[in-house]
């Protein structure tokens, strides 16, 4: 299977943190069924701002599921502000690469995390630089 790296296949076939958090205090959803990918991320952030738990639900291809899995692993146990520093590049690197046509999946993962963090900030009334949360658009298929 040369299509995806072993890491991608591992995170696709054994995704980490899959599921929902009923009492999540930050939820983000990005993507569009018409484009073929939707990611939904649930955060449970404790009072110290640490992401105690994170789960995801994803509709999408193998790399979308693997990117979600990897992204959640990368932010779990981190401070919520640090989660904002997660880049799609870091996700791609952690997955040992993605095929060029699939890079947008990692972008989606980054955006899903950001969207969940924003939701958390909004719920808590924490102020933030709106510049950090640009409008999410689906660059891959031209729709949004």
């Amino acid at each position: 299977m040369a299509l995806y790296s072993e890491k991608v296949m591992d995170h696709f076939t054994n995704p980490r943190n899959v599921g929902k958090i009923e009492d999540a205090n930050g939820i983000g959803e990005v993507g569009n069924a018409r484009c073929g990918d939707i990611m939904k991320i649930y955060l449970k952030v404790n009072d110290d701002g640490i992401i105690e738990d994170v789960k995801f639900n994803t509709f999408g291809c193998a790399s979308a599921i693997a990117s979600s899995s990897m992204a959640t692993e990368m932010i779990k146990g981190r401070h919520i502000d640090e989660a904002l520093e997660l880049t799609n590049k870091a996700v791609v690197e952690a997955l040992d690469g993605l095929p060029p046509v699939k890079i947008h999946c990692s972008v989606l993962a980054e955006e899903a995390v950001k969207s969940a963090v924003k939701d958390y900030y909004d719920r808590k009334g924490i102020e933030y630089d709106t510049e950090l949360f640009k409008e999410v658009s689906c660059s891959s298929c031209g729709e949004h």
Binding site: T13, V18, E29, N57, T58, G60, I65, V101, S140
Partner: protein, 391 residues
């Protein structure tokens, strides 16, 4: 359990085809254009293969042009129809929205050469009617090309009727029969088509070899220029081993056609029985006029690539649409053409069987598909929404 269920993408070379190729690969090494004995022996194999292929589709051997595959055959047929039309001042071509890319992309290229192209809609059934073609015809129409059987959904088109209509109108008619030949009866005389494309690797022949059938009297136009091979219409030293393998495979397929069809209908119906109970699934394309071994379904709330990769992990090789568009992000143009909504089209699965499959394998496919669909839906926010809306 291993289940190869992607025979519409390509098939395994048959034993008979391999056995026919081996002596050519080892001993019949001459160039069929050479005058000496070694060359003329190669030529005899070439012409014997041509006769075998001709017989399989009820053509004359002079009507058989060997190509490097179905794509090349489609390209050459379309350019021939277009350029012959242009000579008579006609520049309008009719095709359908769900042709193979070998046809659609050639039509795109012809558009850049100032041809007008009308792609007629395909009904929800996945079948084009002669009325659809009639409605699209103009004074300027020089070529109609409609595939015989669709590669993704397996629906069979009324080629004979369309060919008859085109003949009346004096319009060239080509059919891409790549998915049909070797799978359902194909008789070029009975069909009355002008040109017809074949690809060997779809019926257990080798990859990289095909045929363009061209009815006597139509002056085929070259797309590969050079030597005088194929009566000056297709240059290049012949892929003799491939051609001989194709001839063996097509003969075998035609010989066993009835039995294979019966077997495949049985296997496919077993699949349908086992899968149709899955919530919110649909079978794409009417089963009324349909290839025996192809089944295309959509499962709402999931995406096709993850479905097929998880099936692959269970030993099942299937496809989500056609092989050459995989890797692309767009949902199948075929499913969109028959009116499947985009978000549902993403969740497609094509199972394409061959006579080498068996009923135990079908049970494994049924169990696996159910399991994987259930799992993917359990992690799908789209499915969650669908269920929420249901309540």
């Amino acid at each position: 359990m291993q289940v190869y269920a992607d025979n519409a993408a390509t098939t395994k070379l048959s034993k008979k085809a391999l056995d026919a190729m081996l002596p050519v690969l080892t001993d019949i090494y001459g160039n069929p254009s050479s005058l000496h004995t070694v060359g003329q022996t190669a030529k005899e194999y070439l012409e014997k293969a041509r006769e075998d292929v001709a017989r399989a589709i009820n053509a004359d051997s002079k009507e058989i042009y060997f190509t490097s595959g179905g794509s090349e055959a489609d390209n050459q047929a379309l350019r021939t129809g277009a350029y012959l039309g242009a000579k008579k001042g006609k520049r309008h071509i009719i095709s359908t929205k769900f042709e193979h890319h070998a046809v659609l992309h050639t039509l795109d290229a012809l558009k850049k050469e100032a041809f007008d192209v009308t792609l007629v809609d395909v009904h929800e059934t996945g079948v084009v009617t002669v009325e659809d073609i009639r409605n699209a015809v103009t004074e300027d129409t020089c070529l109609v090309t409609v595939m015989m059987a669709n590669n993704e959904i397996g629906t069979i088109q009324p080629i004979k009727e369309i060919a008859e209509f085109c003949k009346e109108k004096g319009i060239y008619f080509h059919t891409d029969a790549v998915q049909a030949v070797g799978h359902i009866p194909v008789d070029v005389k009975d069909l009355g088509v002008d040109m017809l494309s074949i690809s060997a690797h779809k019926f257990h022949g080798p990859k990289g070899v095909g045929v363009l059938y061209v009815r006597k009297g139509i002056p085929l136009i070259s797309i590969i220029e050079g030597g005088a091979q194929e009566r000056g219409k297709r240059a290049g030293t012949e892929n003799l081993a491939g051609i001989v393998g194709m001839a063996a495979a097509i003969s075998e397929a035609v010989e066993n056609l009835e039995n294979n069809m019966k077997k495949l209908y049985g296997l496919r119906d077993a699949l349908i029985d086992g899968l149709k109970g899955i919530e919110r699934c649909r079978i794409n394309g009417s089963l009324e006029h349909h290839l025996p071994g192809t089944l295309n379904m959509c499962f709402e709330g999931i995406e096709g690539e993850s479905l097929l990769l998880l099936l692959d992990a269970k030993g099942i090789n299937a496809s989500s649409g056609s092989a050459c568009t995989s890797g692309s992000l767009d949902p199948s143009h075929v499913l969109l053409a028959i009116g499947v909504p985009v978000e549902i089209a993403h969740g497609s699965l094509r199972l394409s069987l061959s006579e080498e499959n068996n009923i135990e394998q079908m049970q494994h496919v049924i169990n696996s598909v159910k399991e994987v669909v259930t799992y993917l839906r359990s992690i799908s926010p789209v499915w969650e929404k669908i269920k929420a809306e249901e309540e």
